[in-house]
């Protein structure tokens, strides 16, 4: 087990260092990037095959249980997909994207991407809540360089906002972690400082007043990182201005990471802080996040910003699911995390392609995609239906379960509000999406630019969400993993 974890943690930085040396030409770099990601994927598959969901792996520094394995699977899938599609994306970007005519620093891009995924792996593998904080802060810093990759004015603005808002938020999370450590010292002594396993076993002994304080800071801190309103101001800018591959990773992987850390901390705090406070707080933030996103989705002009606001809507739904904190809702949140990550990655990738094809990000100037760029249009349509939660895509099931859990546990007000707001999102996205797909083109695209490798990768991601969403109960291994993840969280 340990050897797999070490391979997982050694390969990406090794690849990053090699990419930074600048000794490789572009072709070799692309293959290095792809092979590293694939090797990490294979390594994770071996780890998952050996892993018994009922018996978590613990040692001095690392800890893997069903929950972390599930999020690891999500992130590694995106990592592999991003590395296989990177080549055609970057070539197109050089040919007809923002970087036209510039020497693209492929090495720098790959190094940053590898380091970004590496920091997320650290978040998911470490046992210690303090080190988790350190790794989350590191993801912010590395992804800041990825967002500002093009160093255009807009990218600089987005990065500055991102780094300022997120770092302040994460500092508050550090404050929460300190309060938690203080509570641990007061109740349990200085042994096993901030170890998640130890705290999990002795969660009942902590002082309720302190855990409530820690809960407040941690929810606000990691909530900022996940993009909960009203700390979301960085989110649309960062998602829209980053290169599209990065946007997909930010929306799918980083957001899942933030929610993972939030869940880990909640498990420690809930037994003493009480679920009533947590529930009402998260429910409030959830409804607020969706409510803030809806008007911006409806009046949006920018094809990537509309996806960013739709990410906020999905984060809101996940937070609502965590707020309910029943077995059904937590399992649905796990599914939602997966489906959202896959579909959002595809959508951001396709949005990037559309921008390259039409040379504009204004949705009002794009029409007739079905006729002119059928491949892109097919993915755009499927992805859109997926993100809106239409069957048989995975999000339909997870949204449905979260909603039913809301009503089952008696959160009538939040549930009804969410349904109304979700209808607004549906109208907004369908309206804009359909306008782009149908009608007569006023502006001829450069052609259907989707590459030969892109189509199978993106199609596979979409098919995975269908399979997982529809059939998770009939796939014994998966169902077992999810049940144990729910058991770890204790819904």
């Amino acid at each position: 087990m340990l050897q797999y974890i070490l391979i997982l943690l050694c390969l990406p930085p090794l690849c990053a260092v090699l990419a930074l040396t600048g000794r490789f030409d572009n072709n070799l770099l692309h293959w290095l990037h792809r092979l590293t990601a694939t090797a990490v994927g294979v390594c994770l598959a071996l780890l998952a095959a050996k892993f018994d969901a009922a018996v978590p792996y613990v040692d001095d520094y690392f800890y893997v249980d069903a929950l972390s394995l599930w999020v690891l699977i999500i992130i590694t899938t995106l990592y592999v997909a991003a590395s296989w599609t990177a080549r055609s994306y970057l070539t197109r970007e050089e040919r007809c994207g923002v970087l036209k005519g510039e020497q693209l620093q492929t090495g720098r891009y790959f190094a940053l991407m590898q380091l970004f995924c590496w920091t997320m792996f650290i978040v998911l593998l470490v046992k210690n809540l303090g080190l988790m904080w350190v790794a989350i802060e590191a993801t912010t810093l590395i992804s800041a360089l990825l967002i500002s990759f093009k160093f255009t004015r807009a990218a600089l603005e987005a990065t500055w906002k991102y780094i300022m808002v997120c770092t302040v938020g994460i500092c508050l999370a550090l404050l929460g972690t300190l309060v938690l450590y203080y509570a641990q010292i007061a109740a349990l002594g200085t042994n096993n400082p901030l170890s998640w396993v130890f705290l999990h076993q002795h969660a009942d002994a902590l002082d309720p007043a302190l855990t409530k304080l820690a809960l407040l800071f941690l929810v606000i801190g990691y909530g900022t990182k996940a993009g909960m309103a009203p700390m979301h101001t960085w989110l649309p800018d960062a998602y829209a201005e980053a290169p599209s591959l990065t946007s997909g990773m930010l929306s799918g992987a980083l957001c899942s990471c933030a929610i993972y850390v939030l869940l880990r901390n909640l498990v420690i705090l809930l037994p003493t802080a009480g679920s009533a406070m947590m529930s009402s707080m998260l429910m409030f933030f959830a409804v607020l996040t969706v409510a803030v996103a809806v008007p911006f989705v409806v009046v949006q002009r920018d094809v990537k910003r509309i996806l960013a606001y739709s990410s906020m809507e999905n984060i809101g739904i996940m937070v609502a699911g965590i707020g309910v904190f029943s077995a059904l809702s937590i399992k649905a949140v796990m599914l939602h995390m997966y489906s959202h990550a896959m579909i959002k990655f595809v959508l951001f990738y396709i949005a990037g392609t559309i921008i390259q094809e039409y040379q504009t990000r204004n949705m009002m100037r794009i029409h007739g995609m079905i006729k002119d760029v059928p491949h892109t249009a097919a993915f755009w349509l499927t992805g859109m239906l997926g993100i809106l939660g239409l069957p048989p895509m995975g999000l339909f099931f997870s949204k449905f379960y979260i909603m039913s859990a809301l009503f089952k546990e008696g959160h009538w007000l939040a549930g009804s509000l969410l349904i109304v707001l979700l209808a607004g999102v549906l109208i907004g996205i369908l309206y804009h999406g359909m306008r782009m797909l149908c009608g007569e083109a006023q502006r001829q695209p450069l052609g259907d630019l989707l590459g030969a490798v892109d189509v199978p990768v993106l199609a596979l991601l979409l098919i995975f969400t269908c399979i997982v969403g529809v059939g998770f109960e009939n796939l014994p291994w998966l169902n077992n993993l999810l049940n144990h993840a729910v058991h770890v969280i204790g819904g």
Partner: protein, 209 residues
């Protein structure tokens, strides 16, 4: 320790008064030096060892020497050295700092009444809030950076007093994060200067809706 607390409060108040970037940066260096002193005092009083002196030495290396040096190097490259704010604004931020000191005492008395070291806990709350104020009220990139580090110093001090310091490996991680954060912010600041010909973040208002 009492002298340390008083001089720290004084320095943080002073921090809100400076508009000139060079002096503000030097003030930040003094502030970090005081934090390092507190760190060494606390560390050595709880028995020496690696955990006793390493965080203090690292604070000196990272926050007293490296960060001000990096910021000063950036400041040298800037032509428009003065912050575009009136004197009234400075007085506002000092007033906010004063009220956040009172608020800090109230928060500490309300939340941790039995904790020892009331003054220094209140000072660290004061530093966190002043750092936030600086980020919100100042518009120049470097001033916001200074606010961020002030806030980080406050949290560090709070952790130092409340828990006698986090475990060593976590502290090392936090130092590394602060270091990388400053390097990245310095890169971004010089890029801002190249792209916008100013480091005033008020020009960053194009992305909306």
């Amino acid at each position: 320790m009492e002298y340390l607390v008083v001089s720290l409060m004084f320095i943080v108040f002073l921090q809100t008064r400076f508009m000139e970037l060079r002096r503000a940066t030097l003030c930040l260096a003094v502030q970090s030096a005081l934090i390092a002193a507190a760190c060494l005092v606390v560390g050595l009083s709880h028995g020496g060892g690696l955990h006793g002196w390493l965080p203090g030495i690292l604070t000196i290396a990272v926050k007293v020497l490296f960060i001000p040096y990096a910021i000063l190097r950036t400041v040298k490259g800037l032509r428009d050295e003065r912050e575009i704010v009136s004197d009234i604004n400075v007085n506002y931020s000092t007033a906010v700092a004063a009220s956040s000191l009172a608020l800090g005492y109230m928060v500490i008395d309300g939340l941790l009444p039995q904790a020892e070291g009331r003054d220094i806990l209140a000072t660290s709350m004061f530093m966190i809030m002043t750092g936030l104020t600086l980020i919100v009220m100042r518009s120049r990139a470097i001033m916001q950076m200074i606010g961020l580090i002030t806030m980080e110093n406050g949290i560090y001090l709070l952790g130092l007093i409340m828990t006698e310091g986090l475990p060593l490996i976590i502290e090392l991680g936090i130092f590394l994060d602060v270091l990388i954060a400053v390097v990245i912010l310095v890169i971004l600041t010089s890029r801002l200067r190249l792209s916008f010909r100013t480091t005033d973040t008020n020009v960053l208002d194009k992305l909306k809706g």
